[in-house]
Symmetry: C4
Subunit: 368 residues, 4 copies
């Protein structure tokens, strides 16, 4: 794959869509399809992206934008750009270096990498390979001891926050995975749980669905959030909230941050678009905790829109995976550089010398 990737990187990849197109050519069809897919009829997947077209930025003029800065902090941690890496499982499917390449790319871009529970490299190996800022994404296993073991390992390995996914009591149905029987190739495992949560041997359709249904707990409630906070000193971030009332509850429960997200359109197909949900959650939370969002981000203009609607930063998943597929660590860097450049240009053109100036009055629903 190496040489091909080199070739792909030589071409002019000017947009995230260019990276996706290059990745589509490099990846096996089932893998490309696994990464790209949304649930069911892909209403939420489309909504996530189309929703950005519903906003316009009423840019300011005659502002000094000679030295634009995309730097900010998230939970006190300095990042060079308000674009973090979403947790995404099975990254060795996209590139042999898997999560290590992504983590290193994020570190070099001075932003935060989030490792999925279902990574194909263990959390310890990722930590050993990259000293950048890292968060650990957590699924709650039926076996709470196993869950706690994951938390303790993440703490020990230097992860700086726990991102609890709350929109996956069961796995959404992605039709391509069901049709083609999504599975992991020989030698690829869910590295963090090896020997502790066995792969189902006999299943129909998607391995993912079978595995999650065997091990993850759909009875998780706010009590488990409290339990999680009681067993860790790390900040707890809830990922997958769309309702203003759920967001307010999360604040009341003491969580440090919320990721407004519908899981990239991969779970409930009738979910609202993430960016619309962000607008409402931001109003309800009113600054009481930090807000992140993901879903549908495909360019710097989208990032600026999200900032103006109240996000402290966005998270990107698929965009980075396309980069990973195309060029491993270098591909990840290339995508982050691309997005950073686009964001910087958008900020300059919108009259925003820094992220704080992306105020709410900058953005309006497109008027047609």
């Amino acid at each position: 794959m190496g040489e091909e990737m080199g070739d792909a990187m030589d071409e002019k990849l000017l947009t995230v869509d260019d990276f996706e197109e290059a990745a589509r050519h490099l990846l096996p069809r089932a893998t490309y399809s696994y990464i790209r897919a949304g649930a069911d009829e892909e209403r939420a997947l489309r909504a996530n992206r189309e929703a950005f077209s519903a906003y316009e930025l009423w840019y300011r003029v005659l502002v000094d934008v000679a030295s634009p800065s995309t730097a900010t902090t998230v939970l006190g941690r300095h990042v060079s750009l308000p674009i973090l890496i979403s947790p995404a499982g099975y990254q060795r499917l996209a590139h042999a270096d898997g999560e290590i390449a992504t983590a290193r790319g994020a570190a070099r871009a001075a932003t935060i990498f989030t490792l999925s529970t279902v990574s194909t490299v263990s959390l310890e190996d990722v930590a050993a390979a990259s000293d950048g800022a890292k968060w650990f994404q957590l699924y709650v296993y039926k076996d709470r001891g196993l869950t706690q073991w994951l938390v303790e390992r993440a703490e020990r390995a230097g992860y700086e926050a726990l991102v609890l996914t709350v929109d996956l009591p069961v796995v959404g149905r992605r039709l391509a995975d069901e049709r083609h029987g999504f599975h992991l190739p020989p030698g690829m495992t869910i590295a963090n749980l090896e020997g502790r949560a066995a792969m189902p041997e006999d299943f129909e359709g998607s391995l993912l669905t079978a595995y999650f249904s065997a091990h993850l707990d759909p009875s998780v409630t706010w009590k488990d959030v409290a339990w999680l906070r009681s067993i860790t000193h790390l900040p707890v971030i809830l990922k997958g909230i769309v309702r203003p009332d759920d967001a307010s509850r999360a604040v009341d429960e003491g969580v440090e941050a919320i990721v407004v997200s519908n899981h990239g359109g991969r779970q409930l197909d009738t979910a609202p678009a993430s960016i619309h949900a962000l607008a409402e959650v931001a109003e309800a939370v009113d600054g009481r905790c930090e807000l992140l969002m993901d879903g549908g981000i495909c360019c710097g203009n989208d990032v600026l829109t999200a900032l103006a609607l109240g996000a402290r930063a966005v998270m990107v998943g698929r965009a980075v995976l396309w980069g990973l597929a195309v060029g491993g660590e270098e591909g990840v860097i290339a995508v982050l550089d691309l997005l950073a450049g686009e964001l910087r240009r958008a900020m300059v053109l919108a009259g925003c010398p820094d992220v704080a100036s992306a105020s709410r009055d900058l953005v309006r629903r497109r008027s047609s």
Copy 2:
């Protein structure tokens, strides 16, 4: 047809659309077209389906959904899922076993089957073949004696409710039926009326239009509803209402339930979409009688949307007919299992452990 159907069932039929596609290949073109068609320009047919895309479900998180239940009651009768079978005529066109297969499938799925007046198997034969819960759909014949005779037979045969269709004073025009001359093949009859309401011998265009125009009464009013209630001890359900004021009137007249429906887009082409009408009728009725709806339901997400907008249950017609066409009784079961599975997943993902928790605040107009 039997073997072919077996083959079709072997394929992965993952969605109702898959079943429709398989049925389209198996059925004669005129039959497929008869089942699929809407009236005139098919505005209402499209509206029914597109309207569901206008809603989004603002799902709740951190609710215990380990044991989701789709069970409910309709008019006091327990059903395992809030998905009932709409009345649909001439089912032996879709499969040799016709209404018997559908009734048995519904019984095995523990839901309610509704038999059409214009069935190709008599109401007695259906009752003899299936002991599941059954309703009888009634058209009012010009000959009121004949109408009463139907009611008495339905009572005797154990049907549990009468579903009076009120949106068909005449048959809507479905262009394909007119162009191709829709008719019943030799040996197939309107079994409930054999010898009592003769088929027109000489007609142009659709048999259906000719038959209905010869025998059904377009002068039916609320007085006939009162008359019907006076001659039966069965609950009376009105099917085909879209106006809030008509729904309120129905409650005042003492009907036990209403099916909000535009007859699957097959009658007035400028009718509002059923799901939009449901939202308004639910507000007007405000719990004073049970509400059902049909029209445009093609997946579990749609069912959950309807429940959240105020339906006690939905009814499905075409979806089940595609299953019937593909695999007879087994096909009916397969479609109901599919929808039940989709509904269960949608409920879990939306944070609804049971149907009662599908509250109004879950659903909103899609904001773009």
Copy 3:
């Protein structure tokens, strides 16, 4: 052309679109294009038709519709259906019998025919050929004597009202006519003005534009309406109004009726859709004069929508011309019968036994 037309009539022509398609095959391209075209980018043409899709009819149930009647009166004249014939010029382009066939067809259908000033048969010949109800459409010529002469002839010939076109100070630009050089074939003339308003000999682009620009008066104002009323005992109808304030002014000036119309999308391309304008004009006029509308009517559902929005009747132009092209007088009758049947069915399905019951609450903006 005769035999071909017979053939075309033998086919199943079930919709107005079927007639248009048949006419398209029979007519020379330039003629078809002249009839079909809208101005400029055809925004108004499309808007006229698409606007009907923006309305839905919230039908009533359980109304006695056994004897539906489409009969009504317009300016006191009984018509069997609320569908009148719009003025349209040059009808011998569509069929050798031209305006005579259309007038006779309208008479047989017991509705009102409107003869255009720029007809290819003289008003006297039309009157001699058909004793049905007829109106005369008037353009104001720069030569007021000539205008008065037309009025007097219309009165003498028994026309029952004057329809003054007010939306054509100049001719809108229809690109196909300009490109292909629209002209009348040898032997075809503007019959009412022969010898009195010469055809321009030397012109570029459309003959229509050249002729109108040579003879019609773009300085016509409300004073001319008063003048017209002073020289005739016939009722005066203004055709081409879209603004509520213009409509109110027309009422104040004493006109007997208004045709809400944007000239079939053939004049100002940015005009509002006729049916939307009707809704607003009806509110402003509030019953103080009779309202007609034309533009975009293509089926009975559209007619019922217009009635519910406040029209006493609609006028159809192109639909009738397609019938004329396909079968002369018989074709005109066929189209009127088709529309009447569609309207009757729509009324029955909507719970309207007569046109008076098409009340405002029947119609709403489509809610999506």
Copy 4:
């Protein structure tokens, strides 16, 4: 190129789109693409044009429009039509005569030509070639002395106003230019700055981006507007404002006019459509300064819409460049004549004898 252009002019070029199509055939692909392109995903480019479809003109009838006049004044200067020429760089790419042809065409049409700072003919040469009314568009160079030198030369050469572009702190990314490496052919230069602001020798992607980034100042603020006003007696016009608050500030700062514009969709891709922005800016400015707009104008109907929404005149860029490409000075005249004729007809059809009668009540959001 000369003969070909003659041929193209012989064809019937009836719309601006016809001119674009002809130009597309004549121009090198990179040049056509440079002129046509919008930034990034071209959302703003499409929005500019589609936004006009969102408006409709509720035309008045029975107004005397026998002598329509498109004449008006802009900053006191009489123009025969409210359509001015937008500044556009590098016009020798479109035609060998470049800015001279455009300036002469504008002069013959009795309207105002605006010369871009980055013209391929020097401001002095343009002034020598055409004695029509001319404005000079100004970019602020990092070297303020150089900026002042441009201003003084413009004054000396008889330019009547300075149009300060405020929406280009950096150049927006137009993908085609980046992919194909936009550059100037040998012998073509930025004539006004020859010897003073060197072309970058070594650059990737677009020359434009490289040049602007090397020389233009992204730190320009309102203080620089004040400075500019202090060094010139010419009226200062700000071009590129979309926000009502920025427009109000501009009035407070004493600028003589504002061009509401998003730079033809070539800068911030999420910018609002110019015509929507105009509607809001007009309300905020409330007559305190003259308003112009550009972006998306493709026909006379669009011009009338802009006038009704509050523009004193519009500016056109691409439309005129297509004319320039097709026929040099004659092509420019042809496009202006075309637009003037379309505007005159639109005014007549809308009941506007002069531009002052294009009042706000004429225009409404299209109601569907």
